[in-house]
Structure formats: C-alpha cells, structure tokens
Subunit: 212 residues, 2 copies
Amino acid sequence: MTELMLALDVLTRAEAMDIAEKTYPYIDAIKIGYPLVLGSGLSVARDLAEFDLPLIADFKVADIPNTNRLIAEHVFEAGFSGIITQGFTGRDSVSACVDVAHNAGGKCYVVTEMSHPGALDFMGEGVAERLAELAVECNADGIIAPATRPERVKALRQIIGSKKILSPGVGAQGGSAEEIAPLIDSMIVGRSIYNSEDPAKAAQSYSCVRDL
Amino acid sequence: MTELMLALDVLTRAEAMDIAEKTYPYIDAIKIGYPLVLGSGLSVARDLAEFDLPLIADFKVADIPNTNRLIAEHVFEAGFSGIITQGFTGRDSVSACVDVAHNAGGKCYVVTEMSHPGALDFMGEGVAERLAELAVECNADGIIAPATRPERVKALRQIIGSKKILSPGVGAQGGSAEEIAPLIDSMIVGRSIYNSEDPAKAAQSYSCVRDL
C-alpha cells in the first residue's frame, strides 16, 4: 500500500492546525518545512504531533557534518519522527543526520532528485543514482524522488531495493497519482489538498489511489 | 583589505550575545546558522542586528524555488542583511534567493565548495567551477569557498572576477589565515574566536591578518 503524506506547506501555525485537523483521518504522515518553522517556531512540531501521525522535518539539510548533527538534534528533540536531508554534501554529512535520527528512534530520508526545472542542472541522471547509492551506504531509511518522472523512480528503485521512496510532485506539479502510486511507498501531496475548498475530501480522494 | 566574519556557531542566544558584545569592535560581519536559530527562534537576528554589523543567515538553502523564496523572505524580514544558499539545486532555486535578497537591499552568496571531507563526494573540482559560473549568471554577490584549499580558491577567482569570496576553514579546521587572506574578501572564523578564553583578543589577532 502506498501511504499518503501531506506536505503542510502553509505559512502559519493556525492554518497548519486547521488543515491537519480536517485531514488527519485520511492521511498517513505530515511533512513540514522551514517556511512554517521559521514563521511559527520549532514548537509547531509539538502541536502537530498531537495528531499522532509520523511528522517529517523536510529541512533538506545541506551543511557540514557537525551542523547537520546539531540541526537533526533540534528536530528530534522538537518532536519530529523523521528528517529529510540533501545528499550532495556527501557521506559524512548524511551519516550525521542518519545517526541522530536512528539514535532518536526516527527516520532519515535522502533527496536524490527534485521536481523543479533547476534540479536537472546538477542533480539529474547519474548524480541521482550516486545519491541513491549513498543513501544505501549510509543506512538511510529511504529517498525522495519526483513523481513527475516515473522512469527515474524505477531506475532509483533498482538501487535502493526495499528502502522507502517518498515522491513529491503529484497534483499541482503535474505528476499522475495513478501512474506513480504502484512505484513508491509514500505519495507526498501538498497544494492539491491544503488549497482545496474541502481538504478532507481532497485527501480522501488520494486515499483511494493508495490502494492501486 | 580582507574582512573578518565571525561564525557565531554557539547554541544559545545568551552565548551569542555575549560573544558578539565582546568581539564586535574587531569584526566586520556576523554569520549565524540554523542550530542557533532553531534553538532561539528567528528573533535572535533582531538582537544581533543591534551591533550594527552585516548579519548573514548561513542557512545553505537547498530547496525548490518557491520554498527558497519563502525562506529568504523570512530571513530578510527578520533583520538579516545577507543569506547563503547552496547552488546545487540549480538556477531557478538560486535566482529565487538572489531576487529576494536584492529586493530587500541585501546580499546573496552561493556555496561552491565546502571544507569537510564529504564535500569532495559530489562538490569537488569541475562541479565547483560550474557552481561558481551559476553564481555569476544568477547575479549573486559572491561565493563560499574553503580556506583549506587555496589552490581551489584561486581557480574559482578566475571565474567570479570581482565578486566576493567568503572563506571558512581558517583556524580550527586547519586553514592558514596568512595564506588565504590575500586571495579572498572575507575570512570566516568561528571556533578559534568563540571558544577562546579571550574572544576579543582572538578576534583582534585576526584583525592584524586582515591587512596582509
């Protein structure tokens, strides 16, 4: 079964809590990023943790090992259950995040490809494969790969085996839920749910796709 | 003249204010990162802005263009005067940070190389040159390149011309201040100052090197 992860990319704590309250019965996990955390403070994690779903810090951590470690420690102390790190800063930086995550009983996922046009400048074919290999070598729990490029997801699956694939890009960015669902473990959907007039119904509509 | 930028990588607002208070007459700029901001809140920027020095958010921003834009908006609204972004996420992501910075009257710097061992996995020779070219094309104000590898700094200078080079890695990481100072615009020093028994004196010792 493919899980549904809500990318809660709203700008205020009030909006985040409102959308989470409306959608939590129909989603499997929540992911938030720096814009919400910078505006609300890291304590927004404690509020969202009340919905008792995995809560992922999509911070795309991209610093030296010691700074990555300090960032990850803040994340897990704040109540998150997982963290997303960039991989291009190399093995020691990724390992720092993985180690903190696992010591906290949490998960760490490595970005291999992204779904915006500029991602092809440095992170396209070849590099993404090496990043997926790095994720395996560092004992990460999975990778992030774009739903907008299913053929790439298939190529990366060959490398990571049974580790998780989390895929953004469904909905507003044009990725097809039906096409990508069978290839991945978690479908990340944001705007199509939180910008919907009826977020609960929108989330439910993806729940059906999950069982494809 | 090479400027001295203090990397204020302490963990609490109290420590940050204490070190800044002791060293501000001897430094030209302050740089802080996510560990301090996640622990103290973004409002620590307003406190540090009181020292009337350029204040740089070393967030190594590494997301899609829209998220980069939102992060940069938070940064400049909080009182920072500059932001550091990764370049690896490509042209549109870098441009998003540069645009917000320049609209706010601030600066944006692009990481081309880093000084930890893992940086060589994906960001070594060749890639760093392309990242420096990207910084120029995106009209960024400068780049970050490691003081631990002066020969690389020289190679990157050929690409960026008169744009600024900010260099970490002096002091605790082994880079030689005397060797790197003539090659760069801003020397980033952290632990050698804030972990010193006499931070003011330590900062002053680098002030001498600035005039090399």
